[in-house]
């Protein structure tokens, strides 16, 4: 085996290992489901209180907000920081099915018997 082949193999192996866990079972051609979410006064428009996607899709929540917030997607346990002028994206492969609340964490929001900011519903294929 030539040196070049070994190097290629090592790089390929490294690339595999370096893959983030979330992307593990995601096929490259997975449909992407994108949601543009504008948070104003800790709320999103009523039509966006429930977001639906299908198992296997790639979900992208594109956030913008009028104040600095920490957003937490339950179940998938993803945290995203967003601030005015600093939009952020929460992206994940929809492998768990269920109805997952997205909540605002940090000061204030957590004290209440909190209603979720919105719910992400991942329906089975």
């Amino acid at each position: 085996m030539s040196a070049a082949r070994i190097v290629t193999a090592v790089i390929a192996l490294g690339a595999c290992l370096a893959q983030p866990v979330v992307a593990g079972d995601e096929s490259p051609q997975a449909a992407i489901r994108t949601f543009e979410l504008r948070i104003a006064q800790r709320r999103v428009p009523p039509a966006q209180r429930v977001l639906r996607a299908t198992e296997g899709e790639r979900v992208e929540l594109r956030w913008s907000a009028d104040e600095p917030l920490v957003l937490h997607v339950h179940g998938y346990d993803l945290e995203t920081r967003v601030a005015p002028g600093k939009p952020a994206v929460t992206a994940f492969a929809a492998r768990l099915t269920g109805r997952f609340p997205v909540e605002i964490h940090g000061e204030g929001g957590a004290k209440h018997r909190h209603g979720a900011l919105l719910h992400v519903e991942i329906h089975p294929r």
Binding site: H72, T97, A116
Partner: protein
């Protein structure tokens, strides 16, 4: 319990660093509402199979003695060992509550008590038998105290053995069940480990006082709410555990739910106990539906009122159906009152309640219940790793929405059919003519279908939290 989680999630979120966010998986329930097609299928099947029960069950010969098959007789030493383990777990949970970290997610007490024991043992009791009668740590500790007392003064009898009035029935346990339901569903502090430990200690004091005053078995029958609760569920089990006077336990196989075929009416207090059981499990689901969306400020008051009102509503509906049943069967050789019929037939609603309970909690138990695995190694949240499982990560994908949906539909339809069948069998034994027995079942079947539909309707609702 989901409330335990919901209430504590916020507090925990404040304390947790992002890196520890995985702990959140513990709490919430992520159930998707039952899709319309499955809802319709389950509802249709329930109604259709109700007619099958009408057609088939009434031809069966009633009154044959239930066959029993002895499986196992526990050696007294084995029983003592089981009880010793149970008592150890009891002390570990109390120690974790008192001396462990007060973060509900890193302490064994909340997860063990609310998920593993309160939900898990419900299923064990219904599917296996009354293991609580063998493992009950309060009973075990009292038995040991009795044994020690016998060693010291062989002649004297331990305890006062006052006469517990028979009219009291299981009313003390019914009141305690309502209180426990309130703690589970309404009380904000129910996930705080120290609160759980103090409640367990307070309940221990109450239980041992009751046993000392009225005798061990008398109190276990009427005041030890968990003995009554798990004992009631064990009537559904395909086996029965009988423990003699603490000396040995025997384990018999029998047809499932044979415990519910006793043709004698239960006491009014036992019927009330069953109604409170049904109401608590239904209310726990109902308060998560959009129907129950009340504001934060009113939540506790509204939930308390709902928890008290629902058993009364259920009792009224049952008495109404039984009143109609009494009227329909008034030409029987032994006409029955509405009250007597209610006491006879209320226990047959248990399979529907259990089925709804499984539909509501099974995926939660299977996912959130896994948290007991790491916490068993580090019960106090002090960084221990007793069994090498402290780093166990919850596998949130062991069950998905599809599993939850199909188990829900299957168990609810099965529970419904079993309930209908049991009620028919009891009616055949109670009423002289098969025609009268059949007539008696129209109102009760309507009640059961309504109860099954209510359970399915709740499952078809999205879980909502409070409105702003």
């Amino acid at each position: 319990m989901s409330r335990f989680i919901r209430a504590s999630c916020g507090a925990a979120a404040l304390a947790l660093l992002p890196a520890e966010a995985a702990a959140h998986a513990f709490g919430a329930r992520y159930d998707l509402p039952l899709p319309l097609a499955l809802w319709l299928a389950a509802a249709g099947l329930s109604v259709a199979l109700s007619f099958v029960v009408f057609a088939v069950a009434l031809r069966r010969g009633a009154g044959a003695p239930t066959p029993r098959l002895a499986l196992l007789r526990l050696h007294p030493l084995a029983l003592a060992a089981l009880r010793a383990i149970s008592v150890c777990v009891f002390f570990v949970v109390i120690a974790a509550g008192l001396f462990g970290t007060q973060d509900p997610f890193r302490n064994l007490a909340p997860a063990f008590v609310w998920i593993a024991w309160w939900i898990g043992f419900t299923y064990v009791s219904a599917l296996v038998g009354d293991l609580w009668a063998l493992l009950n740590p309060w009973k075990a500790l009292y038995l040991w105290a009795e044994a020690i007392a016998r060693q010291i003064r062989p002649a004297a009898r331990f305890g006062l053995h006052w006469n517990l009035p028979a009219a009291l029935g299981v009313w003390p346990a019914t009141a305690l069940l309502l209180a426990f339901g309130w703690i589970e569903i309404v009380w904000d502090g129910n996930a705080v480990p120290a609160n759980i430990a103090w409640l367990a200690l307070g309940y221990s004091l109450l239980t041992w006082t009751g046993m000392f005053l009225f005798g061990r078995e008398a109190w276990l029958r009427s005041g030890e709410v968990f003995a009554v609760y798990f004992g009631m569920l064990a009537k559904l089990a395909p086996s029965e555990v009988r423990s003699g006077n603490g000396a040995a336990g025997e384990w018999n196989l029998r047809p499932p739910a044979a415990g519910l075929l006793d043709s004698r009416p239960v006491s009014a207090s036992a019927a009330a106990f069953v109604i409170v059981m049904l109401a608590i499990v239904t209310f726990d689901g109902l308060r998560e539906t959009p129907l129950w969306a009340v504001s934060d400020a009113l939540w506790s008051a509204a939930a308390t009122a709902g928890l008290l009102a629902l058993p009364c509503l259920f009792a009224l509906a049952i008495l109404g159906a039984c009143g109609l049943m009494a009227w329909l069967t008034r030409d029987d050789t032994r006409p029955a009152s509405a009250g007597e019929l209610a006491r006879l037939f209320v226990p047959t609603l248990l399979p529907i309640a259990l089925a709804y309970h499984v539909a509501h909690y099974l995926s939660y138990l299977l996912v959130a219940g896994q948290v007991v695995i790491p916490l068993a190694s580090d019960p106090l949240g002090l960084g221990w790793d007793l069994f090498g499982t402290a780093r166990y990560k919850i596998a949130a994908d062991v069950v998905g929405a599809r599993f939850a949906w199909f188990t829900s539909v299957v168990v609810i339809v099965l529970g419904h059919v079993l309930a209908m069948y049991l009620a028919h069998r009891l009616a055949l034994e109670r009423f002289a003519a098969p025609g009268t027995a059949r007539r008696s079942q129209y109102p009760f079947a309507a009640l059961m279908i309504a109860y099954t539909m209510l359970s399915l309707w709740i499952l078809a609702q999205p879980i909502v939290e409070t409105v702003e």
